[in-house]
Symmetry: C2
Subunit: 252 residues, 2 copies
Amino acid sequence: MGTTQLESVPEPKYWHLKTVIGEALDSEFQVGEILPNERELAARFGVARATLRQALEQLELEGRLQRRRGVGTTVAPPRVGVDVSTARHRWPGAGEESWQAVDCVTAPPPAAVLRLLEADDAPDGGADRPVYAVRRLRATHGQALAAEQLYVPAASVPGLVTSQSLTGPALARGVLRELERLPLEGQDRAVELGSARADDARELDRLPGAPVLVVTTRYLSGGRTAAVSLATYRADTCRLTFGDAGDLQIAS
Amino acid sequence: MGTTQLESVPEPKYWHLKTVIGEALDSEFQVGEILPNERELAARFGVARATLRQALEQLELEGRLQRRRGVGTTVAPPRVGVDVSTARHRWPGAGEESWQAVDCVTAPPPAAVLRLLEADDAPDGGADRPVYAVRRLRATHGQALAAEQLYVPAASVPGLVTSQSLTGPALARGVLRELERLPLEGQDRAVELGSARADDARELDRLPGAPVLVVTTRYLSGGRTAAVSLATYRADTCRLTFGDAGDLQIAS
DNA sequence: CAGTGGTCTAGACCACCGG
DNA sequence: CGGTGGTCTAGACCACTGT
């Protein structure tokens, strides 16, 4: 990656920089290789560090670079295809090895989730009814992919034995096990762009505000919403696939 | 007494700003309302304009704000739920009113698309075989939502009459019409984060590099890939829904 | 500890939009 | 034309990582 003459075109410098560096990544670098640090790159291209950073940010957003404070900037591997297909009609945790239940509390869900859970109930909101908040993590090859918050109203798992001292992971697994006893009638799913909350960011090994793909799933049983899942996937490393498109490989 | 815990983890200013402004949006502003300009907001919060902009960028990424050069910053309406479900098993253009075919040329597809199209063919790549590139736009209420590039190998539409002078939109509609005659056996679909190319950005009324959700669809017929679609949705305004989750409404 | 990326500042000029 | 957001600069300091 040599020094390149930046033309005086209406095209923003950082946009041109992004193109130049992107091409260099294809031709002169290998996955995992460390790039020169930002100060040197900026000097080499004759721009301010902030401008150089704007280009790197874009490349990171597109999953081509990976930057870590205190370490450096490395060439990222191609995005991982993560199956989130709804076709199998399964409850969360049923035969899924990639997810790991890590905790469960009875914290009240955020207002937006409450609206989904209680949409078909009395309009009093029912905010007093207990709701299990199951925390799960999804990983492959030791890499954290997603953090999920699964909200399960206690009414959905009446068989759950709560008298004994089930805590944390054990309680989480208990809730998931009870959920599987219900007949699953359907799922609603939506994907949108978001930014990682502080707790999600920590578990995904990212900084707060990092771009994530938020997958909202509503599990239906008995004509009602039996559970709501809010899963945040690392947008830089994940490509969500539906159906058997696991080998799709497209750059943006 | 020894060490007193004083702000062990200083929250970045822009992160705090984002929270403060976000709360103000909920309580003191209405959809469509214009915010004070960036220089005044920065002065009001006692920060540099660049820092204030970092907070606004995050809020725009989450779909809470809309900024337009020369105009100002406005409070954005909730994201539009856009149905991209694969369940209906339809060819593109079949009974879809929201899409509008605008053009069609026989340009060669990008390498990544070629790999999908020719995956099951001879490894020579077949780059010489003609491929129709249909351009479509998706809009609701006059708002552009997505721009799509649909690649259809000529071999998939043998019945298409090309002798007459079909051009642009007419040719595009012709290709789509012929596509519907094939038996559609399945679709592979993937969603990932990308940044808008210059041409997409223009049609989506965004600046180049704006965040988009890239939906890659592979249409299967006769055991082969009959067409490949690359659709870019505005990430700031769109929430992609699968199934009948049209009324899902979750903030990130 | 030295070196990395992350945050922040206080300016400047430019591209675009509306009146 | 004036006002807006978009780009860019040349610094500074901070938080984190590895050794």
